[in-house]
């Protein structure tokens, strides 16, 4: 049971870090709230 929990938590952590990295460097920012202005100035 403990091993399953560890795998789950580790999976969530890896997914989160991966998603953050993708979001910051590669994602399309069209729907990003804070980037609406950035789109305009670019």
């Amino acid at each position: 049971m403990q091993t399953v929990l560890v795998i789950l938590v580790l999976g969530v952590a890896l997914f989160y870090i991966g998603r953050e990295f993708y979001k910051r460097f590669f994602a399309n920012e069209a729907n990003c709230d804070g980037c609406a202005f950035n789109e305009k100035v670019e």
Binding site: A13, I17, R24, F25, F37, N38, K40
Partner: protein, 644 residues
Amino acid sequence: MKVALVGNPNTGKSSIFNLLTGLRQHVGNFPGVTVDKKVGKLRIGKEDHELTDLPGTYSIYPRSKDEEVVYDSLSDSQSENYPDAVIVVVDAANLERNLLLFSQVYDLGIPTLMVLNMTDLAKKQGKTLHIDKIQELYPEASIVEANARAGFGKDRIKEGLVNLKSRSASKITLAASDDLKAQEVETEARFKTIQKNLGDLESKEGKAKEMSRGEKLLVHPILGYVIFSLVLIIIFQFVYAFATIPMDLIDGAFTTLSAWTSQVMPKGVFTDLVTQGIIPGIGGVVIFIPQIALLFFFIAILEETGYLARVVFIMDRLMRPLGLNGKSVVPLMSSVACAIPGVMAARTISDWKERLITILVAPLMSCSARIPVYTLLIAIVIPDETIFGIMNVKGLVLFGLYMMGTVFALLVAVILKFIIKSKEQGFLLLELPEYKSPRWKNVGITVWEKVRIFVWDAGKVILAISIILWALASYGPSDRISESVKVAKIEAAELNLSEEETNQLISSVELENSYIGIMGKTLEPVIEPLGYDWKIGISLITSFAAREVFVGSMATIYAVEDDGASNKTLVEKMKGQKRRDGTTVYTLAAGSSLMVFYVFAMMCMATLAVVKRETKSWKWPLIQVGYMGVLAYLGAWITFIILS
């Protein structure tokens, strides 16, 4: 209803925004900046409306990327940012200048509410506003008085929004954003109208106020810098004096929590993860709340009182000979909080080369993410002594690290000035606001926002990395680990080590042969000349995500090493770290070298992402990582050699 908030800089626009939205506001994806899209919920009756704080501007015609946002949002009715109503904040003490923007917005035909702010300052200057005459000049606008700093006018503004007058169609077609000639003609015509009517709109008693002696001292070409340095030294002394007690309490609480959790939870890998990965990871975030809160408390007070604007003014004088644009001061000052708003604030610089230099040097300014690293290392290697009986050496070292970042930012800018040539010379248009007593609600909101961003945004990354790090530190190639443990047991028997010492040795050997240990050992030859061991090397790798991850990583690595059983705090554990040959790891030389490394190294994924987006290229963020990396390595190496 979508409501836009516009106004000249320093009209108290942000105070009005805070007054209307309270804590129900957010700043897109990136932390607390004025160049970003700041949106809040404005509740009128039972209905919520969207209030957007647009960047401060003197005219609707843009002179920078930042101001283009205002032009684009208000001139294009098809834009998704086009508002249903506009609140124009007008500084009652500077009516003539503020009416230019107001008249432009008014003529667009959008329902407009004029909020006459800072009426108390206008009175102080002997000015009396004739609101009935202003209303006559702009009959379709609603006008209310407010004093956001005193928290007065919230209900009037809401009432004003409810009773907005419907508008006839737009009276003007705005000149194109690049048609400077047409803009100039229109602006001159507007100023003529305003000046013609100004005598009716306000009356004034007494003479214009002269700069006081104290005021002259604060912006003095030499004493101004001395006073600013003293202010900073005092702030850092206070930060140290007040933050130590709560930080020690938090550190102790998390150590106790970890030990208690390992006792009450059933033995197993998940318990290990909680006690050695998650709790130290969260502790590594929470412990720095007192310092971050205190630093921003003082910075917010400086900003609120109007002193920070004077600092920008004197710094402009210093920077001009170095080839930086006067407008670079604001991005660089913003970078002391966080390089992300700093890099984005560089949009106000119209010349792209000057903007680029500012973006490239902004991350050298010591940001709040470095505070946890500096604090931890200072606590370990700097003696707790005082100079002249009052000056804490630790506080002075912290001040020195901030100064080092600033000086090198300017030096690098000078070098870049010769590499990247610029034909244009920018200018700094800065209005020095009146000195005011700080508005504590604004100070509170600033502190709350900075702490929230640190705990929530940075905290999630730190926690996730701590969990991954725990796994990499707890597992490794099983053959290699069992072989090494066997050798360690023989070594312990030969040395007649006690059971506790033997267990400690085995834990160290297991960590050394874990996946993270193998990675650290591989890196060790590169960082050995700087005085670091492989464990520091691991934290250097993980903190490339964000600098503050360093502390969480150290906490996890040392917690895994002693199986989470020790009652020692992280500082105590690090102070007691020895190499195999018995020498101390964290000497003054190694600790100082590490601090210098963090002053210069570009270790922030989020800033790199923003630089990439702002420069629309991978080239500049990579150059930034390269030059800052070289500077960090050389600086750390020289520091280690000198202090060894």
